[in-house]
C-alpha cells in the first residue's frame, strides 16, 4: 500500500499520529503532517486506514 499526504489540507490535529505513530509525525514548526513511511508494512494497514478516516481535513489517502 502507498500512503499519500496533502500538507496543504492538513490542520495539524494529530489524529494520524495517534492512530499510526510509526507512519505519521508532525512538524515541530507548524504541526503539519510528516509522512515517515510512504509504503508501510501490511500489518499497519488497519491503523493507516484509521488515520485516513479520522483526519478531520481529509489530508491522507491510501492506495493499494
Amino acid at each position: 500500500m502507498r500512503v499519500i499526504v496533502d500538507q496543504a489540507r492538513c490542520t495539524g490535529a494529530g489524529q494520524c499520529v495517534l492512530a499510526a505513530s510509526a507512519v505519521f509525525d508532525q512538524s515541530e514548526d507548524d504541526g503539519t503532517v510528516i509522512l515517515l513511511d510512504a509504503e508501510p508494512p501490511e500489518g499497519l494497514a488497519s491503523a493507516v486506514e484509521d488515520a485516513v478516516v479520522l483526519c478531520p481535513a481529509g489530508a491522507i489517502a491510501l492506495e493499494r
Partner: protein, 379 residues
Amino acid sequence: MIVGASAAGLATATSLRRFGFEGVIRLVEREAAPVTERPPLSKEILGGAPDSAASSAQWDRLVSQEIELVASADAVDLDLARREVVLADGAREGFDHLVIASGVRPRQLEGGETAGVHTLRNLPDAIRLRAELVARRELLVVGGGLLGFEIAAAAAELGARVRLVRSGPDALAAAVGPSAAARLEGMHRERSVDVVTGFRARRADRSGERVEVTFDDGSAESADVVFSSIGSVPNVEWLEGSGLDVTDGVRADAFCAVAPGVWAAGDVARWEHPGLGRATRWEFRTHAAEQGVAVARNILGAATPFSPIPFRWTDQFGQRVQFAGYATPDAIEEVARTGDDPLRELRTYSIGERLVGVIGWNAAAAVSRHRALLAPYPA
C-alpha cells in the same frame, strides 16, 4: 441506513466497508450534494480560499466504495416497529441497522431569518457571509463561542469593523481554557474587534438597510451585517414520533446504541460516556469521525464501549489553539514550555499523577505527544 452524510455518517459508512461489511449501505442526506467539511468554512473559506478547501475527502470516495447516496432527502419520521425511515416525499426506506447521524443546526435568533441574520453551517452560508464582509462594513457578531470569535477574526482580517457581543465569558473559556481565552480576547482587541460582555440577544429586526439586534435589557444595536452563533439545536424532530428519548440529542448507551439495531453518532448523539459516568453530547469535528468508526465496529459485533478523550481546536489571526482532555478547576495547571517563541505555549492539567488535559498555542506536535499520555477521564 445512515441518516446524515456529514463527518459522523461518512466515517460510519466508510468504516463499515473497510471492516468488511458487504451489504447495502445507504446514506440519506438532507442537503443537496456535496456535503463539505465544516471547520474550513469559518476559516479558510471566509479568508477567500476556493470552495475546494472545504471539500470532504470521505464524500469524494463514496462511489468507489459502493456506498449509495440519497441526497436532498429529508428524513421526517422513524417507524421503529416496521424498521422504516420515512422521507419527506413519502418514501419509506427499510433498514436492518440504522445510524442516526443527523447532526445539529444553528439556533436562530428570534426574527433572525426574516431579518437576514447570518448563521454558518454549510458552504452556501459561508459564501453568502463572505460576500458581505467587505472593508469598512460593520459586522455585529452575537455569541462568544469559538465560531463567533473565528467569524470576528476572519471579518477583521477582511477589513470589516467588528463588534462581538456575548452574554458571558464562559463559552470561550470552556472551549480553549481560561488563559488561551484571555489571550485570544486580547488579540481581538488589538485588531480592533470590540468584545462586549454581559448582553444576551433577544431578537433581530430589519432596520432599513441594516439589521438591529435587541438585547434582554432592552438596549439595541444595529450593523450592516449580523452573524449569530448562539448554540445549536440537535436535528431530532424527525424522531419525535418514534418513542426514543430525544432530549438534547438522541439518547444512546455506552456502545452508542439507541435501541436494538439503531445507533447514533456525531453532534446529535447524547451517549453514555463510560469514563465520565454520565451522558454527554459533543460537537467536535474529530469526535464525529471517532464515534462513526466506533459505531461501525459495534454494528459488526465488537461490543466496545466508546470512551473518547475530547479534542477541539481553533484558528484565529494565524494562531492555532488546540485543547485535548479537560482543564477542570481541581486540576493543577503547569506551563510546560514556552521556549524562546512567545507565540508558542503548552499548558498541562494534572490531577495527582494523572495528566488529564493539554492546551497548546501553536504547538501541535507537542500537543499530540501529550495527548498520547492523557488519562482517559478526569476523575
